[in-house]
């Protein structure tokens, strides 16, 4: 069969659907230069797991020359069936380093750098060095942090218009069983990850009274074992979800409780699933979502085609249902709109209650610290400052602030300097 032309063929031709014709125009396609642009572009891949391996392979096979990859994890034997850049001999090694070495060995023309560690430990300057960031993370908190970091990099002028040269697109992919989604985030132009937080519901939990008093399902027994029995037995040790010893303990306790209530179906796998809230990964779904993500990255870099606007959902269980739509920006998104949060509360509300409200509301903060213009109300860290501000938690708002005073909230789900404006008006 005759050899078919490849991607470079498209880069050399103009067409009716290049970037400038799109709903989200990012630049003008130039057949003279776009191949060079592809070669010089620098892409950051976050995560070297199931999606990450696919993303790296796809980039390598598409003509990208400069790639960096970051991942915190080491290779586990259970990864081998779908994380195809890893072999038996690599177990225990750093995911990012082994993946990078594999790509280097097969494609020696590619310049690939590996980072082993947390994305939260890299400085702002690190992120500024990339043209596009592709994220293949399975963890909502890391995605929130990354999103807030990259949105924060955009310079906005007095009219609120972003400086295009400071916009680094994020392509975010995620999979769960036969389902997946890919999306394009153009910080300050499209919706951001935080805008869609509601579509990533917090872990499903059962009512505590069911777990404690009227268990019916194996899941209830497992929840009892890890939520109630573990802290009682090991008050000073946090359950390590990745430790087989810890998980075996939970499994055995759950089994004992299930036997007591004659409930069937507690297995080790189910225990893992309930505790980690995991749906098994499917290799083919990773392939689909990763390729969709890389395809978007290439189009954003070369302007050779329109881009996804902004969200693609894939569901492969019952036939295939694929839905593409504009995910709208959330009006009061704390990350990409800079909107001020307004709460109306009784002046007798304690600061502790305010902190709890910030954690449990749609903001889903983890450990909020609050300062007013004149004083530090409560700081979660460092420990000395926490101890000093802790007495404020029991105080009522009327003794701490004026009604309508502007407060500033910081939280570890967002990068250091990112703060949220909060105004509390008394009822």
């Amino acid at each position: 069969m005759l050899a078919r032309p490849d991607f470079s063929h498209l880069l050399k031709r103009n067409g009716p659907f290049t970037s400038e014709t799109a709903a989200l125009p990012m630049g003008e396609h130039d057949p003279e230069t776009s191949e060079g642009t592809l070669k010089s572009t620098k892409i950051l891949v976050i995560g070297a797991g199931g999606l990450g391996c696919e993303i790296l392979k796809d980039l390598a096979m598409s003509g990208v020359r400069n790639i960096e990859v970051i991942d915190l994890d080491t290779i586990d034997v259970t990864n081998l069936n779908r994380q195809f850049l890893f072999r038996q001999k690599d177990v225990g090694g750093s995911k990012s380093e082994v993946a990078a070495a594999f790509i280097r060995s097969r494609c020696p023309w590619i310049n690939i750098v590996a980072h082993m560690g947390k994305i939260q430990d890299k400085p702002v300057e690190f992120y500024k060095g990339f043209d596009v960031i592709i994220s293949g993370l399975d963890n909502v908190e890391a995605r929130r942090w990354l999103n807030a970091m990259v949105v924060g990099l955009v310079d906005v002028d007095e009219d609120g218009d972003p400086d295009p040269s400071t916009i680094i697109p994020i392509i975010d992919g995620g999979t769960e069983g036969f389902r997946g989604q890919a999306r394009v985030i153009l910080p300050r132009i499209t919706s951001c990850f935080e805008c869609s937080l509601d579509s990533f519901p917090p872990q499903k939990t059962f009512p505590m009274c069911t777990i404690a008093e009227t268990p019916r399902l194996p899941e209830h027994c497992i929840s009892y074992a890890f939520m109630l029995e573990w802290p009682k037995e090991f008050p000073d040790k946090k359950l390590d979800k990745d430790s087989p010893d810890d998980m075996k303990w939970v499994y055995e306790r759950a089994l004992a409780r299930a036997e007591k209530y004659k409930i069937k179906g507690v297995t080790y796998m189910l225990t893992m699933g309930v505790v980690k809230n995991i749906i098994p990964a499917v290799a083919s779904t990773n392939a689909i979502i990763a390729a969709a993500c890389v395809s978007e990255a290439l189009k954003l870099i070369t302007f050779t085609s329109q881009t996804l606007n902004t969200y693609m959902m894939y569901m492969g269980g019952e036939g295939i249902y694929s839905h593409t739509f504009v995910y709208e920006q959330k009006e009061n998104c704390p990350v990409c709109t800079g909107a001020t949060r307004k709460l109306t509360l009784s002046s007798e509300t304690t600061l502790y209650e305010v902190v709890q409200q910030l954690i449990n509301s749609d903001l889903r903060l983890k450990k909020p610290s609050i300062t007013s213009e004149s004083k530090t109300l409560y700081m979660q860290a460092p420990p000395a400052l926490e101890a000093m501000t802790r007495p404020n938690l029991d105080k009522e708002l009327k003794d701490l602030i004026e009604s309508g005073e502007e407060l500033s909230v910081t939280d570890p789900v967002f990068p250091g300097e990112k703060s949220l404006n909060l105004i509390i008006t008394f009822e």
Partner: protein, 519 residues
């Protein structure tokens, strides 16, 4: 990923090698025919019919694969062990592969990538895919509330449970009262209603009244979750219990099921046994035994689970006896259908799914039926947010390119760089082909000169121009998306789990949208 050392080797050999490397459990083999792929697929080498020159002979000579396809499903319900997948072959070869697959009685998948467009066509071994384990995202529970309330003898153990637990309602404390399973509350309410009124609630007012009666029996409706569940699920009790899905009922009337023989496949034997069972059990299938989670104390819930499981085991026993006598009737050995298969079948009766599957050959040679046209029309008018990206339009664009290739032996867009006139001639020619396809599918394009509403000539021209620009280019990522999708469908077909698509999946990589086209 192939490396430098593989240069000049057979592609098939290299790919098989990397597959084995990827997963040591995979036994990847390869075959290099002594003729062209086209001749191999279409069994067209005159006089010579060897595994080297004929796909049919090659399949029949596989020692490690079962041919003809096994009539015994694997534990997971698959009835075939061979799946043919054609990748990026010329359209004429897709036609041959589609035809030969139906002759051999094997399913096949045809995958094509073309620039930023990719398509996957799947085709079953026979007229349809029968899915034994669809694993739907929402469970359907067969609780028999209606029949048990009206005819207690049809499910005595449940009926006894309901009477026993509801007789004590008045003596219960608040905690106990709020943990009586809704199943018991509903059964009692339906029984009461039918005794009082002689029929089931059918009008809107009756239904509202029925729910109101349940509410009134609660101590404090807002606090009693079990009563709230009963009201929410009331329709499952006053409506007749659902038997088998309609599409399965249709299957039961097919000749494959009514005239089973030694040649019949396992699925048809099971269906013909189901038919006998339904006739003997008032149209109700063997109970599958699973119940939903509900507000309840542990003891009642566990007891309820047991009641349904025991009944399910009893039904399974009766059903198994019917299957075994059928098996004997057609002269097969006793274990022809293993107990595990029968049990999987019974568990899945409420979910059994049939997906009709027309062959690609039929689609291309005979064109669309009126039903196909109607199904497609719905998809044209239900496009992606931007109409010009509707998968249906690009599917037509891709079909036009295939026709161009059959006629000219190259993809359109070859002369794009030559001069403006040659480029325009190619684009116009492809647009004309597209218009003829639209006509075939009953889409009127003739008087839509202006861009805007529906399929207009300017939109067709734009798509034709983009398809010429692609000129059959092979893009890694489009290949990878389609590879993933085809992999997923292949697993569905082989295992009989999850539901395959009907006909064609089309990926539009320009904006990353996709659709399934049933025409």
């Amino acid at each position: 990923m192939p490396d430098e050392s593989t240069k000049d080797k057979s592609k098939a050999e290299v790919i098989a090698g990397t597959l084995n490397e990827l997963n040591p459990e995979v036994k990847g083999g390869f075959h290099v025919p002594s003729c062209s792929i086209s001749e191999f697929i279409s069994n067209a080498v005159p006089g010579a019919s060897t595994p080297q020159t004929s796909l049919t002979e090659y399949i029949k000579n596989q020692s490690n694969l079962t041919y003809p396809p096994s009539t015994v499903p694997t534990s997971s319900g698959a009835t075939g062990t061979i799946l043919l997948i054609g990748n990026d072959l010329p359209a004429s070869d897709f036609l041959s592969l589609s035809k030969v697959s139906r002759v051999l009685g094997l399913p096949c998948i045809l995958v094509r990538t073309y620039g930023m467009i990719g398509s996957m066509r799947i085709q079953s071994a026979k007229e349809q895919f029968t899915v034994l384990q669809p694993r739907p995202s929402t469970e359907k529970f067969d609780l028999r509330l209606n029949s048990t309330s009206l005819t207690p003898s049809s499910f005595p153990s449940l009926s006894e449970f309901v009477d026993r637990i509801t007789a004590r309602l008045k003596e219960m404390d608040v905690q106990q009262h709020s943990h009586v399973p809704y199943v018991a509350l509903l059964c009692r309410a339906v029984k009461q209603w039918s005794e009082d009124k002689g029929s089931m609630p059918s009008t809107f007012d009756d239904k509202a009244l029925f729910k109101e009666t349940i509410k009134k029996e609660s101590l404090n409706y807002n606090d009693e979750l079990n009563y709230q569940e009963a009201v929410e699920k009331a329709y499952t009790a006053y409506a007749p219990d659902s038997g088998v899905p309609d599409e399965v009922k249709d299957l039961l009337e097919s000749s494959n099921v009514n005239e089973i023989s030694g040649e019949s496949n396992v699925f048809d034997i099971l269906l013909s046994s189901l038919k006998v069972y339904l006739e003997g059990n008032g149209g109700m299938p063997p109970l599958n035994g699973s119940i939903p989670d509900m507000t309840s104390d542990t003891d009642s819930y566990v007891e309820l689970q047991k009641i349904y499981l025991e009944r399910s085991a009893k039904d399974l026993k009766e059903f198994t006896e019917i299957v075994n006598s059928k098996v004997k009737e057609i002269g097969k050995e006793e274990n022809h259908i293993p107990p595990a298969t029968i049990s999987t079948f019974v568990k899945n009766v409420p979910y059994l799914t049939v997906v009709p599957s027309k062959s690609y050959f039929d689609e291309m040679t005979n064109g669309p039926s009126d039903d196909d046209k109607e199904a497609l029309m719905e998809q044209v008018w239900d496009p992606y947010e931007v109409f010009e990206h509707s998968p249906f339009l690009w599917w037509v664009g891709l079909k036009a390119c295939e026709m161009h290739h059959i006629e000219n032996n190259h993809w359109p867009g070859k002369d794009y760089e030559k001069d403006a006139e040659s480029k325009k001639a190619e684009v116009d020619m492809l647009a004309t082909t597209m218009l003829s396809i639209f006509e075939k599918y009953g889409v009127d394009v003739s008087d839509m000169e202006a861009e805007g509403e529906g399929v207009s000539k300017p939109v067709v021209a734009k798509i034709a121009e983009e398809m010429c620009r692609f000129n059959g280019a092979e893009m890694h990522n489009v290949g990878s998306v389609l590879g993933g999708v085809a992999g997923q469908e292949a697993v569905k077909i082989i295992t009989g789990q999850y539901v395959p698509i009907k006909n064609t999946y089309l990926f539009n990589g320009i904006v990353g949208c996709a659709g399934v086209l049933m025409g």
